[in-house]
Amino acid sequence: MATNIWVFIEQVKAVLAQASLEALGEARRLANAQGGAVSALLFGQDVSGLAATTLAHGADEVLLADDATLAEFRAEAYGGLLVRLARERQPALILAAATTRGRDLLGWAAVDLETSALADVIALGYAGGQLTATRPVYAGKLLASVVAPKTPALVSLRPRAFPKPEPDLARTGQVVPVPAGLNEAELATKVEGTLVEEGQVSLADARIIVSGGRGVGGPEGFAPVRALAQTLGAAVGASRAAVDAGWIPYAHQVGQTGKTVAPDLYIALGISGAIQHQAGMRSAKTIVAVNKDPEAPIFKLARYGVVGDLFKIVPALDAEFKKRLGK
């Protein structure tokens, strides 16, 4: 039996989530191995322009629902539509990015489809015809291997845990319009707007994160952290100590009660590396630590370590990178 795989394409105001492209790449890999087709689920308003990008990144067809009720993601609207389509067309597997939206969507649909939703998966495969996934539990201190015996299996993939495929612009496929079939009056929620911090790089998508901790000493101590982040095109992170002290908003917190990130490079400045912080960043590929205390646990995780004063090291590093990167 062909393993038909669906990928929920997440977009906010017609901007694609990078993690959705990673999910398309993983779907393509599984479909090639198992025999089957990949369908991209593109829900929204005025989003048909994104169809070509999803085909180039591995989809064989696009199921496009373009409707005013879908202008903003709402679990009840998107979930209702996903459940209806899945009942009609019976896919074997539905993938989404493990973002706030992806997790809500699959958690909602799992109830109606009476199936499992596997959240925040970092590896996926079929063994003996059964879908097996690896996901971190206990804040990344352990790994669980889980089996999803029911179809469709719903799986959200941790951003940056899967490679983003190279686009192949020669790929073509059908764009199949599907009706949204929703009635605004029956939806209980209404999105009034979004308050966006300008110029921020999302932590989940970031290739580089520059993070500050207790060692930055105060809100003004984040100035060199931000400057270095800007030079590197990086997102700004923070430890719980810095957030709890009120030096930087919670949205920046990395760790057990903050965000879990997996950048190529994580620069920890004045962060001791408590076990709760490690839980959020230990899957970074390369970790650089700058700390005054040579005994700080962060040095056990770091590839490169500097024992010293971050207020001297960071400006020097910023100047050096400006020079190297021609900024």
């Binding site: 906010v12 206990y138 790994l143 209404k190 490169y304 500097v306 024992v307």
Partner: protein
């Protein structure tokens, strides 16, 4: 207003978690209220204080979870109910959301259900949205602020913390609100609260009490299995310390990071 907060008992976040014979162990670390849930408990108490009514705490778990419920009472919840039954063993997020929804329905008069973002053991974050779906109520997950609540008009306005910023959403009540850290600063239990909680009788509701269909709970009501759990592979290599003047350190680090192609 009747506010229900759902809590879970988990190992302390500082626990050194490991695996022995395929079972998760956490040494002598204590069992506590799931850290994410503290924000939901605080928000339940604040809603009660502001709008009047009652705040109830419920927990699906073993007998030991009564300790977590006592923390809820000591902080200021009015009543606590343990949802416990041997038949619940092996429940995944699908079965758990079913049981909790049945318990909430048993109260009969609930206006707002509060959850923490996720439990720090299973880390799925699926239960709040699953409970909302089962109750047919809107899921207001990742809420960082309850901006307005109108008990008469039966509406609520919240700010949700999403990847790109804060989303403002209005909804009808009843609703399920999933909280994130930063929605408030959880209070510490008072001495009087702790004394009151120690004396409180926490009732237990079984599967039959909340009217569960036996096919929908425990392992038979679950759609996933955990055949294997393991520790993390050790991180390769050890730290390379870089020393010198700040300029020398910067130049060396830049060389290495560019050579490693991470910048």
């Amino acid at each position: 207003m009747h506010i229900v907060v759902c809590v879970k008992q988990t190992p302390d976040s500082a626990a050194k978690v490991g695996v022995e014979n395929g079972k998760v162990t956490w040494g002598d670390a204590s069992l506590v209220v799931n850290p994410w849930d503290e924000y939901a408990i605080e928000e339940a108490i604040r809603l009660k204080e502001k709008y009047g009514g009652k705040a109830s705490a419920i927990s699906l778990g073993p007998e030991s979870a009564k300790e977590a419920l006592k923390t809820c009472l000591a902080m200021g919840c009015d009543e606590a109910v343990l949802i416990a039954d041997p038949a619940f063993a092996g429940s995944d997020a699908l079965a758990t959301s079913y049981v909790l929804a049945k318990a909430i329905e048993k109260f009969g008069d609930v206006d707002v259900v509060l959850f923490g973002k996720q439990a720090i053991d299973g880390d799925t974050g699926l239960v709040p949205v699953g409970v909302a779906r089962r109750l047919g109520w809107p899921p207001l997950t990742y809420t960082i602020k309850i901006a307005e609540l109108d008990a008469t008009a039966r509406t609520i306005k919240v700010e949700r913390l999403l990847e790109e910023g804060k989303q403002v959403v209005t909804s009808r009540l009843p609703a399920v609100v999933g909280t994130v850290k930063d929605i408030n600063e959880p209070r510490y239990p008072t001495f009087m609260g702790i004394r009151k909680a120690a004396k409180a009788v926490i009732s237990t509701w079984t599967a039959a009490d909340v009217g569960c269909d036996p096919a929908k709970i425990g392992s038979s009501g679950s759609a996933m299995a955990w055949p294997q759990i393991s520790g993390l592979p050790a991180r390769q290599g050890s730290v390379e310390l870089i020393s010198g003047t700040p300029d020398e350190v910067a130049a060396q680090l830049a060389d290495k990071l560019l050579a490693d192609k991470v910048i």
